[in-house]
Symmetry: C2
Subunit: 455 residues, 2 copies
């Protein structure tokens, strides 16, 4: 098949907006999942406006060309990996953002980074809570596509809890506004909620209206060193059965040592696991929560428990947890898991991952948004070692099988993308797959949007 003629697309968009330079296209093949099967885009479009997106989508619809939409390219499950012959639409230049203090909302184009939305809100005395570990490099559009979570969502919820309205461009090029600045809206089918987490399969998000909160109260941080991952995961349950902490993060010894190698901040290298918890309850209530966390940690065998209300120290421990993925990545390439289970099954999940690591003779480091039951086993491997890569891939699948067997999910916050679609049916079953497929086909009958994701 000959390559499609791009002339009419190029002519209908501003000069330079359609890019076919092979070197530039090469930089848009991979996302952070580093899928070796990534394709090469037919061309790249970097729109500034909704109108540009509509023009590109209409051209694709009339020519039957598939589309991959890309935010900041930080997907860990291959949601924005390039597909041969597909147009890549990158939202990176769609960067208009307004903060409305009267309605306490942010209206953002999708290319703004999460950290930029947070900062703009903070400048006006407001707070946008969702905080993926990648918040400094991931885009709001991608956060909406994956229903991204983060560290504070154990108390403050995930992206969908903050999306009040969307503008989306459908597969036929029509732009729709759904929801808005009103805080409650039961008018019609809940389309806003349907689009958040739909991984670009139903439309391209061109504007997001986000709910903002009053600023978070200063948090106290409690750090506990545990002799084993089992002890730490039991401490998680001891905390969550009594209070709702503002953060409750888990690191195993591999990630502790990797972070310590990188940051040299004095973490306990001999610990089997570390928990980092926060309370942002004000005054005596916060003191009571901190005391409760300290006691829960101690009663589950923590060797050392350190508490601080100093914001710089608190941020250092939070940053240590956020640094875990890049730190472990220095040991080797990662297959990054995102499995979640109902909280009481967390110890079984973590034990099971250790057994899978042993069985396959691969190093797996586990970090977790433990208070949510959402874990990120990091499978370390050398991609040039075919045998180890095969064992890593086998472990990757076995971890998802384990999560499913424990009543959990193959993805808590990263999305299914292209890497996990082989397990989605195992989790949800044939009938749910059918229903998802019916909806996808109804909304995108040509199947142009983000092909290869989820289905």
């Amino acid at each position: 098949m000959s390559a499609p003629d791009l002339t009419s697309l190029i002519d209908s968009l501003p000069p330079g907006m359609v890019i076919t330079d092979r070197d530039i296209l090469g930089a848009y093949r991979f996302d952070r999942a580093n899928d070796p099967d990534a394709g090469t885009p037919l061309a790249l479009v970097r729109p500034l406006t909704t109108d540009h997106v509509q023009t590109a989508v209409r051209w694709c619809a009339s020519a039957g060309i598939p589309i991959v939409t890309r935010g900041a390219g930080t997907s860990l499950s291959g949601g924005s990996t390039a597909v041969d012959g597909a147009l890549m639409i990158s939202t990176e230049k769609m960067r208009r953002l307004t903060i409305d203090t009267a309605t306490r909302t942010a209206v953002s184009q999708p290319g703004m980074l999460n950290a930029e939305v947070k900062a703009a809100a903070a400048d006006r005395g407001l707070w946008y809570p969702p905080d993926p570990s990648s918040f400094e490099i991931c885009s709001i559009g991608g956060n909406v596509a994956t229903n991204a979570g983060g560290l504070c969502c154990v108390k403050y919820g995930v992206t969908t809890d903050y999306v009040l309205g969307l503008e989306v461009v459908l597969a036929d090029g029509r732009a729709l506004r759904i929801g808005g600045k009103q805080l409650k809206d039961s008018a019609g089918l809940p389309l806003t909620k349907l689009f958040v987490g739909s991984e670009g399969l139903l439309g391209i998000v061109t504007e997001v209206t986000l709910r903002l909160l009053p600023p978070q109260a200063p948090a106290c941080t409690v750090v506990g060193s545990f002799p084993s991952v089992r002890a730490a995961s039991e401490a998680v349950l001891a905390v969550t059965s009594q209070i709702r902490p503002a953060m409750l993060e888990f690191m195993d010894s591999v990630s502790i040592n990797a972070v310590e190698d990188m940051l040299k901040m004095g973490l306990d290298r001999d610990a089997g696991a570390l928990l980092v918890a926060q309370s942002d309850a004000p005054g005596p209530a916060g003191e009571a929560e901190v005391a409760l966390i300290e006691q829960a940690f101690a009663s589950c065998g923590a060797g050392e428990v350190f508490s601080t209300s100093d914001p710089v120290e608190s941020e250092a421990f939070t940053a240590a947890r956020r640094a875990a993925i890049p730190a472990v990545e220095k040991i080797g390439a990662l297959l990054l898991e995102d499995v979640g289970v109902p909280l009481p099954s967390l110890p079984d999940l973590i034990d099971g991952v250790a057994a899978i690591a042993a069985e396959n003779d691969v190093l797996i480091s586990v970090i977790a948004h433990a208070g949510d039951g959402n874990t990120h086993p990091l499978i370390v491997h050398d991609p040039t070692d075919a045998d180890e890569t095969a064992r890593a891939n086998r472990a990757f699948g076995q971890i998802m099988d384990l999560a499913i067997s424990l009543g959990g999910t193959i993805t808590g916050e990263h999305g299914v993308g292209r890497l996990k679609k082989g397990w989605l049916r195992d989790q949800v079953g044939d009938d749910v797959m059918d229903l998802m497929s019916l909806i996808k086909t109804a909304v995108d009958p040509q199947g142009l949007l983000n092909p290869g994701v989820m289905f």
Copy 2:
């Protein structure tokens, strides 16, 4: 057309489960919207299990018989009004409920009342927040269908924020499980969120998994009497621009006097409007919030500001607000509105409703979940007076037109039902209506589920 033969349906369900007695059917014609155009069910089925629901739905699917699903029949927008020739499936006998303290979830069949779920959670030291004013008589299934709100949702969110998983029976009789007890789940299209608020158009909810919270801290209540509705609505903005109260309710003078007539609790009969606010922040933070609310009320002209931390007194004021609808209903029949606007437009909405009342020479009492911008104008009329009823109906439509013109919604928490469908297109536009219709048709191609609602 002759009536369908019910024999095979009767034979396939337990004895007595299919009811055709005209007197009993008569009690299932209306919901709390009292639609004079209500039909009469073909028959009534009161299933106990998901299997019973599937049997009934399969029978309907094969015979092409439409279905109206009814929870407790408290819809205020005609969502469960009977349709001539349609099978009525009442979930009132589906009343299995378990509380799981380990995962902090409730798993409930749809027929449990909201208050029963709350009570069962409280018995185990947990809290189910959503609290529609009708919480003592409305069902969880209906709450899910409408994405019901309530008084505490200004701080704690609405039903969708608490639904982790669902079992639904589709229009072809298949039963699906979506979501589950895991707190975060990005696996596949967000179907759980699509079903919450879909008003029975996509399936019949047969089981709900609800997230529970640790118990709410004791709340302090602040009550302010204002000379005018304008002063009170400005006080709302003065509060919400600074803090996120746990409750912020509005009553106008008609509702104040109607409640006082009924409850005789000493409300200020001369007030133009009353605000009832709560803070449940603990300790000094709560004291600071109460002081801030008191100051905001005073600076906006409140004549009297009363604060209490006594739980009995607090509950009396909350109960007064909840009693407003039944109290105003003693004056006459109500057309009950549910319009919402972005918060800064709240004063314009309330002023505009007064103008509409004057123009149409009808009494309209306004109560509101003011902190959400969600108002319930209550249009009082005598249904035996054709001219007044016509004026009331005109006002009903004009209020929705007003909300739409202010960038708001025709329904914040009651749903579109059969009463408001004429305005849905005006709010969302042709393209959004098309998209909703595409999804409805994909999921329920025969259009059997809750015909006449929304479309």
